[in-house]
Subunit: 343 residues, 4 copies
């Protein structure tokens, strides 16, 4: 039908099959006339041809200012890769009243549940004890628990209190951990509203038995967990590195881990796949290895589709989006995410 809005879908490296369950796919198709390019990214000529008519753009298509200015019907751009990248001229979109959106919270549940299980694993020695059992050197009862501590009630630190941090915090409630939070982008009021205590970075590091590193990487905070900061961790403390490897000085972290002074769960690495000879592969008993797999669950990917379609429905009705995050031009330019390959 001629009046239906044009919806351009250019989702690679995602595919619609990966991010839409059947019901969501149906809702997507009811949004309007769909032009979908999943074999290859939309070519420039094609996008230039479509953009003056497009009401929605779903994907990571390059949107420089000139193209945005021709997009006279465009209401929203949905980034379904879930990191705001420099492909969009954010300021131009803002001036034109075009929403730039991304369902960044889609992975929060999957990562948070993994993060909690890994934290309890480090505190209680679950996978280490499994390894010992398989090797026939298990120790029973109290003897098997030597050197471990109860997670419930232990002081927890969270560095970076965005969607993921808050999802994790909600899971902690029944465990009654005191929770320290460091997030320089947030007011103390917001941290306290989640029953956490705002604290400077050094206090979070030195005052917690377990520290979750959930911070985004920006130009300003690369490597902010360096030798000095890691040295602040308590003996036997557990560090969980779950957001971006670049926030930590990785060689220093490996050094601390090889010394056995602290324990860590690591889901992100400076180079992935991790090279065969990378020092982090030293295989200590105090490390829990995870190959960038805390978030990439089918259930999380399908949330990308559901959140995108639900907000697209609102936007086409002239209403503000409710589930996706809105790009802040100032902030988007600071983020230093790399495009994902597989998650």
């Amino acid at each position: 039908m001629i009046d239906q809005p044009l919806v351009v879908v250019d989702p690679l490296p995602r595919t619609l099959d990966s991010i839409c369950d059947p019901q969501t796919r149906q809702r997507l198709e009811r949004l309007g006339r769909l032009v979908v390019s999943e074999e290859h990214p939309l070519e420039d000529a094609e996008i230039d041809r479509l953009i003056p008519e497009a009401s929605l753009l779903i994907g990571q298509t390059a949107m420089p200012r000139a193209r945005i200015e021709r997009a006279v019907k465009l209401k929203a751009i949905f980034n379904v890769e879930t990191n705001f990248l420099p492909n969009v001229e954010y300021q131009a979109c803002q001036e034109r009243g075009i929403w730039v959106l991304s369902p960044t919270a889609a992975f929060a549940t999957a990562v948070a549940e993994s993060a909690l299980a890994m934290a309890i694993d480090l505190a209680r020695g679950i996978s280490a004890a499994d390894r010992a059992f398989r090797a026939g050197r298990e120790r029973y009862g109290l003897a098997g628990n030597e050197g471990f501590f109860q997670f419930s009630g232990a002081t927890v630190g969270i560095i970076g209190f965005g969607e993921l941090g808050r999802a994790l915090r909600a899971l902690l409630v029944p465990f009654r951990n005191p929770v320290l939070v460091h997030d320089p982008w947030l007011p103390d009021e917001l941290v306290r509203a989640h029953n956490c205590r705002p604290a400077p970075l050094d206090e979070v590091l030195s005052g917690s038995r377990l520290v979750f590193v959930l911070a985004s990487v920006t130009a300003a905070n690369q490597g902010f967990l360096g030798r000095r900061e890691l040295a602040l961790l308590q003996d036997g403390a557990a560090l969980l590195l779950l957001s971006r490897a670049a926030v930590v000085d990785f060689p220093e972290l490996v050094g601390e881990l090889r010394s056995g002074r602290i324990r860590a769960a690591i889901d992100v690495f400076p180079e992935e796949p991790v090279p065969r000879d990378a020092p982090i592969r030293f295989g200590g008993e105090n490390v829990l290895y995870s190959a960038h797999r805390t978030g990439g669950m089918r259930e999380a990917l399908e949330l990308i589709g559901r959140m995108t379609v639900a907000d697209a429905e609102l936007v086409l009705r002239g209403l503000p989006p409710q589930l996706c995050r809105r790009a802040d031009p100032a902030l988007a330019s600071q983020l230093r995410s790399k495009p994902v390959a597989k998650t």
Copy 2:
């Protein structure tokens, strides 16, 4: 002082050091005149000499009816091993108005947090992925998550809904799992009060993605999870065996695990230490091994002391105990617990 109550402490295999932090030890000593035997169990002659004067007995001392009848000042017996054993003539205590108590909930927090972490481990493949990483065959992102499922929102079954089951249920709240409960000793009203759905055993087994086995062993329920019942589990379901190995037909369980059809976390075994050649040691990727270590934490042991002393204080003031479980004569005789060696 002559008026102080006599408190007989005969705690082996526990020791006061293992179950009392310094502050609890002080409170214990303020209860009255203490006679403590930690090197060896109190000898019969000694206990016979002391019992007519004793106000409290803390320990697993043999208390046949004849001795109970001579215990004219006795107000309470505290079992600090935390399983009601046949050492006490429960009916005789009831007739005499002597409380028989045990801080059985002391381990609930420690076991529940382990149980949750193990469940997420099985759902998400955390220790299996760590093992793959150490072997240099890790897979990243989505590929690494093949065959695993999100724990949040998955249907959970709980068999045996006592103190441990309820502690676990509280931890599940933020994950929003539908929870099915089977416990033939409890009214449906109580199960519903914890926001769970009461269900027959077969429905719990066939309807849940993860099943926690937390039931006590009685004369009546030994081996109640046999071939037929295990076959009801969904393909890929996770079984967590955390209370007593005797509730399951262990060879059948091993068979199901070797077939790879289900996954399991096992903390209790028919024989501990597990013999070198026990079939359960087959080392499958679908098993999480734990050497009877989910409960035996220092923090849990110290709760034994705190709960015992707090209730002892009440009992000496003529008030009912509030933290320990009371032995039910009818039930105590049905329980088939073995004395613990180390936990």
Copy 3:
């Protein structure tokens, strides 16, 4: 049928219609052979005739030791009036292994929700403002809120932390009130487990903006809230008297209220109906009057039936009861409840 257990039902002043919904009535009738006396209390001759065969007794029938000794099949006595009265020789029941039970928690939900609403009413002036509006002297917005305070976050004191106190505490969680608890029958550990701070009576009175009086009356605590204690309340503090009038020195309370220094919600009175000329009828703006009606809801009465029948089912199967409270002989004799007339 000859093998069916005999269930004697002697519930006055309750009637089965008042405490059983149709489904519960059916479950009751399936328990066994019922003998029901609702027109008048069972006569002595009749009860003496029935008691040797009775398995369950539901009601407040007199049970002196001699009768208990003849009750050779009796497993449990259910007090459905919900206050343990001196009608039963509790010690004799304990010796014989007869449960003496009462669904005392049946009223907790109904009372707790009323208590919370009344507390917010006193803090925020809801009924006072409604009264002003009806009189045509309402004040709008900020002006109308002069002298009132926000309930959320205000420090709350609870005196008496039994089933009702804990039901109320659960309702407070989202309001984030710090909660002080005074209950001399409970260990501090239990109070802390509910995220409250145990405190001496004087500190609860002087440190709280709102004080809930939920304590039972015993021989020892009659009038324990006297002139000195009431004087400890903060100016403008709210007292909620919801359990038994006898715990407070009522004339002193009336005096404090007439002075206007504090506010109060009162649901229980020394004499009910309250005499026409009782000083508490002075009608101050700082009083919220309630004619002993916080508990007596149909929904609560029907819980009496459900809890009783559910536990009766367990007891007949040889299992311990789970929903009713068990009489403690020592404590039951201290309680000074009057039989209810209408609730």
Copy 4:
């Protein structure tokens, strides 16, 4: 100092004293150079003189496009009256990257606690019973509860699920009410994330025992609760009108109330103060009157200050605001709020 940002404060009808506690006032003054006009609104000439240098504008100053274009340093405008009014050319601000913000959630806690207490009052007859007591015609216990119902577990409907609706929903959690939500501006996913069931308006009205009306007024929804909709309410249902009177056909509501078929708590009226002879003043037993006072608490006003200052601090650091709501140009123009006089 010459480099300090200029902060223009033009807060009338608010005053800084009313919205800032001393600590917040200090933080405000540390933001930069303050120009404050509290005696009268800033005059046009003055604002025109200041605007080219201003970094922040706190107040409801007229900001037409021409003025916005001269505001070359302006980063944010804070509406502290808390309703987005047509004083700002929102689209122009968006184009210039100027945040237009308002701490609209400041009143949510105060209103939500009142709303809950009023709902329980209507369900349980609290103020009606107080009135009866004062008139000497109180009825005790069960008799006094005739016609009322337990709030806990009753089905609740919420119309309009913004900040206030979500604050209220959080308070309902321990009461276990099923909650139906109607909000045409929100996706079902968001409603379900709060454990509510999204439902069409008619189903919310006919399926709930209590209905909270929390919707904003727009050009499109004035009077959307008319005769037909009110007739859908169950006999005895409770309607709570707490947002804007204009969403309901007020004469129809008064008619339903006079008939006695439903009950209602009313905090907002078509004309305030309510005229002496307004029909709503009929004074029925089924009405709870509140003179627009659920929100206007000192604690709520001070939140306005705290939220404003906290976000101002972030904005001056180049970070996005976190506590205030952002004006959506499309939506702001639809809202039909009147400036407040006193709240």
